[in-house]
Amino acid sequence: MSEEMHHPASSLDHSDLHQGAGDAQLAGAGIPETEVLLLEKLRNGDEAVFVSLIGRYHTPMLRLAMISLPDRSLAEEVVQETWLAVLQGLKKFEGRSSLKTWIFRILLNIVKTRVQREGRSIPFSSLSTFADESSDEPEVDPDWFLPSGSPMVPGRGLWVSLPHNWSDVPEERLLSQETRACVQAAINTLAPQQRQVIVLRDIAAWTAQEVCDFLSISEGNQRVLLHRARSHVRRAMEDYLDGGKQI
């Protein structure tokens, strides 16, 4: 798929930007129309587009980088390097993947290089391989439930202690800084691949398909990772908010 530039690179006024056949071709190949426009503007030096992009992607990029590079300033550097690489690669970008996926792949590559260079002990390979990750947390905590084979108690099933009803928790507490900090801490203790998935799905709001494509994992694997990550975070939130379950 070839790319066609229809507008002179020197034109700064893009209020009259319109799509030519080449854009439609690009659009037909998988990159959405709005992205085609965005890409075009970016290539032509539209600063507002760049600012909106960095604003939109900054948080997930930083979070993703920090999974392998917990040092925030190092992660910030890597994000900067990524944007430089993005700008330098704009001309050659063919739109076979979405702009977003392309940007984040560049990020992941730069993170990988940095990790290797810094000689950290986190094995980067664990971030991109199919892994039925073991976790020391059981999927279902046996303590929560009556023993196997027990009859279900009407209205409360097999729960030994009922999970609390969080709609009783005042909203200021539920969404407080402290609760956020607790959630953040829980995310930080996730296995790397679980953390990647929850960051992209639940914080950056990527679709399941986007995550699968980006991480080269199956839909089923993505869901298992997401499930484990969410279960871990929920539990941390519960431990923090409740202290103990009601009987």
Binding site: A9, S10, L12, N44, G45, E47, F50, V51, I54, G55, H58, T59, L62, E76, Q80, W83, L84, L87, E139, V140, W144, F145, S148, G149, P151, M152, P154, G155, R156, G157, L158, W159, L162, P163, H164, N165, W166, S167, L174, L175, T179, R180, V183, Q184, I198, D202, I203, A204, A205, A208, G220, R223, V224, L226, H227, R230, S231, R234, M237, E238
Partner: protein
Amino acid sequence: MISRVSTQMRRLLDRLLMKRRPPTGAASKLDCRDVVVLVTDYLEEQLQPELHRSFEEHVAGCIGCQNYIEQMRQTLAMLRTLTQEPMFPETQEELLHLFRTWKSNEMPEK
């Protein structure tokens, strides 16, 4: 076929088909442990229709599971609040500088 079924589903199926003796004798009924295992599949709307129905059937009559699922939803709501953290102004400044430098190299006539 089985190899494409997720690990969770496989475990669930194992339990349903082999190990458990459900008190009501209806093999397709779920219990609270199943709800905990399947909650993500449920929220992602990835349960097969029959399983989805059994899931909701159980939850309708179980306050423990209702609360658990609600907790999961609140957890997701909390995660969503982490979506945008403000960029340090210096960071934005540096990136803008980067952009302008790149631009003047690429398009010197501007």
